[in-house]
């Protein structure tokens, strides 16, 4: 750890907040992206199942 002297609080605080907020954003994004992928795959599967059923009827 470098000598931060009297500005230690400011420097460490800044970096902590930066990393903290970025990590929060990454976490949020990851959760949202995963949910989107899940919903997408579910509804695609339903659609394809429906299509296959319609094909069979013909």
């Amino acid at each position: 750890m470098p000598e931060l002297g009297k500005y230690a609080g400011a420097v460490l605080g800044s970096w902590a907040i930066t990393l903290g907020l970025l990590v929060l954003l990454i976490a949020l994004t990851w959760v949202q992206a995963r949910a989107a992928k899940r919903k997408h795959d579910e509804i695609e599967a339903r659609r394809q199942a429906g299509q296959r059923a319609a094909e069979k009827k013909r």
Partner: protein
């Protein structure tokens, strides 16, 4: 075809390939391919900038060790503005060429830009505290970022409030464009407004001081890291938005088929 016409057609074909990527399917394919490398590169550059800036830079005159804050404050501030600029360009492309990927990319970029703005504000305040003895000062630069933060909030709120995705895309695009004009105007207004109080006591370092290589090089790397972070996040979020849009369309179709 004359030689000139041929060359023009060739030039236009060369440029037009960009619009191919606007196709959502192509974008998904391309972004999926590139994403792992993008993430790796982001971690590398960002990490380097961070470590170098934090551990391996000396103290500065007048600033002491607080100069290290520039490695988070400056890149985040720069990206906060760049992100908005990208949103405006994407909005214009959407309005003119109706490429859905463009509209969704703008929507995807907004939260990232908002976080950058917050970081700029927080680090600015943390830097200001030891410098000026106060947690917040209506310094023109900080104030402008506060206003930018409000613009970001309004943009995201409008997207969230409107049900129809295309209408939302259109209205938020118009808001982004008009908002930009007012954001720039506000910058001048705030500079004017604060003339009396903190003459010259602006927060960022002067260009002269930035010239010192020992600070400049890690700063450039840090900026690169933030930029890559932005691109990576926008890619990931746009992919999610594209998927959600398809889900919305398919759900509508399902509902109509049932009806």
């Amino acid at each position: 075809m004359s030689a000139l016409n041929q060359r023009t057609k060739q030039a236009r074909d060369n440029i037009n390939w960009i619009w191919e990527w606007a196709n959502p399917v192509k974008f998904m394919w391309f972004s999926g391919l590139v994403l792992p490398y993008l993430i790796g590169l982001t971690v590398l550059v960002f990490g380097t900038g961070f470590v170098w800036g934090f551990f391996f830079t000396p103290e500065a005159e007048n600033f002491g060790s607080s100069v290290k804050i520039i490695y988070v404050h400056v890149p985040s501030a720069f990206m906060a503005i760049s992100a908005w600029f990208m949103m405006v360009v994407a909005s214009v492309i959407w309005l003119i060429r109706r490429h859905h990927v463009s509209a969704l990319a703008a929507k995807a970029a907004a939260p990232v830009g908002t976080v950058f703005t917050l970081i700029a504000l927080a680090t600015g305040a943390l830097w200001g505290q030891p410098m000026w003895g106060t947690w917040w000062a209506w310094d023109p630069r900080l104030t402008s970022f506060l206003i930018l933060f409000l613009f970001y909030l309004g943009y995201m709120a409008l997207w969230a409030a409107i049900e129809n995705p295309d209408t939302a895309a259109d209205l938020t695009a118009v808001l982004a464009i008009v908002g930009s004009v007012f954001a720039i105007l506000s910058r001048y207004a705030v500079n004017f407004w604060n003339q009396g109080l903190h003459q010259g006591a602006s927060l960022s370092m002067d260009a002269e001081e930035n010239v010192a290589d020992v600070y400049w090089i890690p700063l450039v790397i840090a900026m690169g890291g933030f930029m890559l972070f932005f691109v990576t996040m926008v890619f990931i979020r746009t992919r999610a938005e594209i998927r959600l849009r398809r889900v919305h369309a398919l759900e509508l179709r399902e509902r109509m088929a049932d009806a």
